[in-house]
């Protein structure tokens, strides 16, 4: 059952991310649903599933992007793993704290991606950070918080937690 859910998630993420989200983009910036999904899976299913689902999402999304495969693979996988670790340390999770967490993680991965971009000087890197990385991180945080709020209202959510 879980496997079917994850396969459906991956299959639906690509058309959502590449076909529908460009219509909802603000200033040509759209949220990274792959990163949000990896973070939520890591949070609710633990670090191992977060890592594996994040890696698969990153791999499949990279097939539909001009970006480097390793970067999308590692950032999504890393976010799933990190969300799994951090999720166990937080006893009471709210949509706002989750939103802030996703914002910070997205900002970190975006900065890492900007640093690895070839042929950019300092001013171009700064332009990329302020016009792509930061707005996208805010967008990711808002979408993640919104999803969590919707899920927590609809379902009785259970998380893995370290004692």
């Amino acid at each position: 059952m879980k496997f079917i859910f994850y396969v459906s998630l991956v299959l639906l993420l690509v058309p959502l991310q590449t076909t529908l989200l460009p219509h909802l983009s603000v200033w040509n910036i759209k949220p990274d649903l792959g990163l949000v999904a990896a973070a939520l899976v890591g949070l609710f299913a633990g670090e191992l599933e977060g890592l594996l689902v994040g890696l698969v999402i990153g791999w499949v999304l990279s097939l539909f992007s001009a970006g480097e495969l390793w970067l999308i693979l590692l950032t999504n996988g890393g976010v799933g793993l990190l969300a799994g670790f951090l999720g166990k340390q937080v006893s009471q999770l709210t949509s706002i704290s989750l939103g802030v967490g996703i914002l910070l993680v997205s900002l970190a991965t975006g900065l890492f991606a900007a640093m690895t971009f070839k042929g950019l000087d300092m001013s171009q890197t700064w332009w990329m950070v302020q016009s792509i990385v930061f707005p996208q991180a805010c967008f990711d945080g808002a979408v993640g918080a919104g999803f969590y709020w919707l899920l927590s209202r609809r379902f009785a959510l259970t998380r893995l937690r370290t004692e």
Partner: protein, 291 residues
């Protein structure tokens, strides 16, 4: 809300997997990426089904919106005329290029007959999955004969080039992306340079000789020297010239001819004019008897 369970085994496995992947990517970057890209070929078919379905629904909604919200007759006529103008612009540019080429080539004895490039029509079904690249996704892939580095155009001009393919789709890096570089030529002055995208979504012609007499409004076309574009396809029009004191070259900002944000159908150049001619020349050389 939270229940206490701490699968430390899972944590160790997750960390080990991630560490293994990092080491593997660090030690064998091209092999691992090549393998994952190869394995992604069949995945492209699976993902292509919902992708095409949603893209066709999206296109259908957009089509109906345009038909019923706008004035139907005027809208259609306008679209038809726009397409005609685009086609005529492309023809006009090609004819100007042909006229210039004819003048130069009439003096040559070994004039070769021009072979038309082979093209594959494809539809745009999506945009890049990330925000960091300006790219579009096409509904044709490896199974249709599309390969990386092939040029992509519309009747109006250059769109970009293929950078990735799966079985049923391909990714086109647009001419406005800073990571894209195409050999360009100023149609009037015949000065060559490299066209590269800018972060603002335009393009820039770099490495233009300082003595070039280029001016605003000059058209930039493909030079056909590098890559899979035939000579003479319109890239854009010069809107600003940057000439810095002490610099070895000058550069110019270009407004792309194709409205990249609205492109819906494209043509992928499978065999360019240059390649056809080169192939023809090789055949001719083989046919010639040795002296």
């Amino acid at each position: 809300m939270a229940h206490s369970s701490s699968p430390y085994g899972a944590r160790r496995i997750a960390l080990a997997c991630f560490a293994f992947l990092l080491v593997a990517l660090f030690l064998f970057p091209s092999q691992i990426q090549g393998l994952l890209q190869y394995l992604g070929g069949p995945i492209g078919y699976a993902v292509g089904v919902p992708l095409e379905a949603i893209a066709s629904i999206d296109a259908g909604i957009a089509d109906r919106w345009e038909r019923y919200v706008a004035l139907q007759g005027v809208r259609e006529e306008n679209q038809q005329l726009r397409k005609e103008i685009e086609w005529l612009r492309g023809q006009h540019s090609q004819l100007r290029e042909s006229a210039a080429a004819t003048e130069r080539l009439t003096s040559l004895l070994h004039f070769k007959e021009q072979a038309l490039p082979t093209m594959i029509a494809a539809q745009v079904i999506g945009r890049d999955a990330t925000n960091r690249y300006r790219a579009i996704i096409l509904n044709k892939g490896e199974s249709d004969g599309i390969k990386p580095d092939m040029g992509v155009v519309t009747p109006a001009g250059v769109v970009g080039r293929i950078v990735k393919t799966t079985g049923a789709s391909s990714v086109v890096l647009l001419v406005t992306d800073p990571n894209n570089a195409i050999a360009g030529l100023i149609q009037r002055t015949r000065d060559e340079g490299i066209v590269q995208g800018t972060q603002q979504g335009l393009a820039q012609l770099k490495y233009i000789p300082l003595l070039s007499t280029l001016r605003d409004g000059d058209r930039v076309v493909t030079s056909g020297l590098i890559g899979d574009f035939p000579r003479g396809l319109v890239i854009g029009t010069i809107t600003r010239i940057d000439k810095e004191e002490g610099a070895l070259f000058q550069s110019a900002e270009i407004m792309p001819e194709v409205d990249i944000g609205r492109v819906e159908e494209v043509l992928v150049i499978q065999t360019s004019y240059g390649q056809s001619t080169k192939a023809g020349m090789e055949t001719d050389l083989r046919e010639k008897p040795a002296p």
